[in-house]
């Protein structure tokens, strides 16, 4: 149990539990104040944010999304058009290379622990959207498929080796690969209807893939789980080699 606490960095709450309803507007008229700017509360500069409840919440949310996702009750979908939020939700999972890389980001973040476990999912969508912006604008970026394949190789290898890079370096590397993924999505978009809803669906699904990786990283607390994660990382890396071969041929 001590090992679990160390990994999860469980911290007792320093705020008294008054059990108010979370939706009560009375909170706006209470004396509750945010942490002072520059201070992150208990747990040092970055804080210790996660506990078992968070992981369970993420796991249940992700499973619920996939379990309740309707498969055939879409009455008015046309093919080949950006028709809004549904096509946006579908696009990130349309390619196995994207899916594996997104999940590997979550796995690696879970292995690195706090703050990487939440810093990577915070920065990745924004950098990926920047890549999407470049793709939508038609900026020429060569070697996209190669970059995506290399991202799968690198991230899978990082998970396999449980690579402990400095936080800044890890964020820069993940951000670099995120541009390739975002550019591919942006450049592949067919013309169509509501770009805003498409963008929302696209970003949300990418975030859900990261959350899936983080939830799967829950098994990192057990030795068998660590071995399973390393095996998964190796598989992702090998898949990346296959994607690279296909991109080069």
């Amino acid at each position: 149990m001590t090992d679990i606490k160390t990994y999860l960095e469980i911290q007792p709450s320093s705020i008294s539990e008054n059990h108010y309803s979370p939706f009560a507007p009375s909170y706006l008229f209470s004396s509750a104040n945010p942490p002072e700017c520059g201070k992150r509360g208990r747990g040092g500069a970055w804080g210790r944010y996660f506990n078992i409840e968070f992981h369970l919440f993420i796991f249940i949310s992700v499973i619920s999304i996939f379990a309740f996702y309707p498969s055939s009750a879409f009455a008015h979908i046309k093919g080949g058009e950006v028709i809004g939020i549904i096509s946006g939700l579908q696009h990130p999972i349309s390619g196995l290379d994207h899916v594996l890389a997104m999940i590997a980001v979550g796995l690696w973040g879970a292995q690195l622990g706090a703050p990487a476990v939440w810093l990577l999912p915070v920065t990745f969508p924004m950098v990926m959207a920047f890549g999407g912006l470049l793709g939508l604008m038609g900026v020429n970026l060569p070697g996209i498929e190669i970059g995506i394949a290399v991202s799968a190789i690198f991230l899978g290898f990082a998970v396999f080796r449980e690579a402990r890079l400095k936080l800044g370096l890890a964020a820069v590397l993940v951000g670099f690969f995120a541009i390739f993924h975002g550019y591919a999505h942006g450049a592949e978009l067919p013309p169509g209807g509501n770009g805003l809803l498409y963008s929302i669906g696209f970003v949300v699904m990418t975030g859900c893939l990261h959350a899936t990786g983080i939830a799967l990283g829950l098994v990192h607390q057990w030795s068998a789980g660590r071995a399973a994660l390393r095996a998964a990382g190796a598989c992702v890396s090998l898949a990346g080699v296959f994607f690279l071969w296909r991109a080069l041929v």
Binding site: S13, L28, S31, P34, G41, T123, M126, L134, V203
Partner: protein, 188 residues
């Protein structure tokens, strides 16, 4: 007292249809905001950020944003100018980055941000709605703004666990990412 209570219970005309009650445009305004992501998401984003900054900014936002929106709407319906650049994308991006980074802005600055957001988006709404629902529509928008900002900012203020603030920051990053993509769509 019993007589007074009986008088209060006296039935009057049941003006069930909005056409006769004249309240239709109010609900149109409420529906307009709820069905327009370009307005709804920045409002929720501002409420989230105001909640992250504390109860004081949340209180100010819940009163000032609707008022600014109404004033902007009146100005927009009077001037009838529709800007060409994607204002909603800017709102998404700025608010999303503020939430994701959990930037410590003073309460005055957050209040000013709420007012500017209300004026700008209200102006756009006023220009669009002037031939339809008019001022009553803006009243409906004000109402739903007050409710949404109150609930969202109070919810964030009430969050106790540190990881809950992280979830809000992740939502902010998603909003910022969406804003960037909106820029791309606008330039395509």
């Amino acid at each position: 007292m019993l007589v007074g209570f009986s008088l209060l219970c006296r039935p009057s005309l049941a003006a069930a249809h909005l056409v006769t009650s004249g309240m239709g445009p109010v609900y149109d305004g409420i529906g307009h905001l709820l069905l327009t992501p370009e307005d709804l998401v920045p409002v929720l984003a501002l409420a989230l950020y105001a909640g992250l900054r504390g109860a004081v900014t949340g209180r100010r936002a819940m009163f000032l944003l609707p008022l600014a929106w109404f004033v902007g709407g009146i100005a927009g319906s009077a001037l009838n100018i529709v800007p060409a650049f994607p204002i909603s994308a800017i709102s998404f991006l700025v608010l999303g980055v503020l939430i994701a980074a959990d930037l410590c802005m003073p309460a005055t600055a957050v209040t000013a941000l709420a007012i500017v957001l209300g004026l700008v988006h209200g102006f756009l709404n006023g220009a669009v709605m002037k031939d339809g629902t008019g001022t009553l529509g803006l009243v409906g928008i004000m109402t739903i703004l007050f409710v949404l900002v109150t609930l969202a900012s109070a919810f964030v203020v009430s969050l106790k666990r540190p990881w809950a603030r992280v979830v809000v920051r992740v939502a902010g990053s998603w909003i910022a990412a969406t804003g960037m993509l909106m820029f791309g769509w606008a330039m395509r």
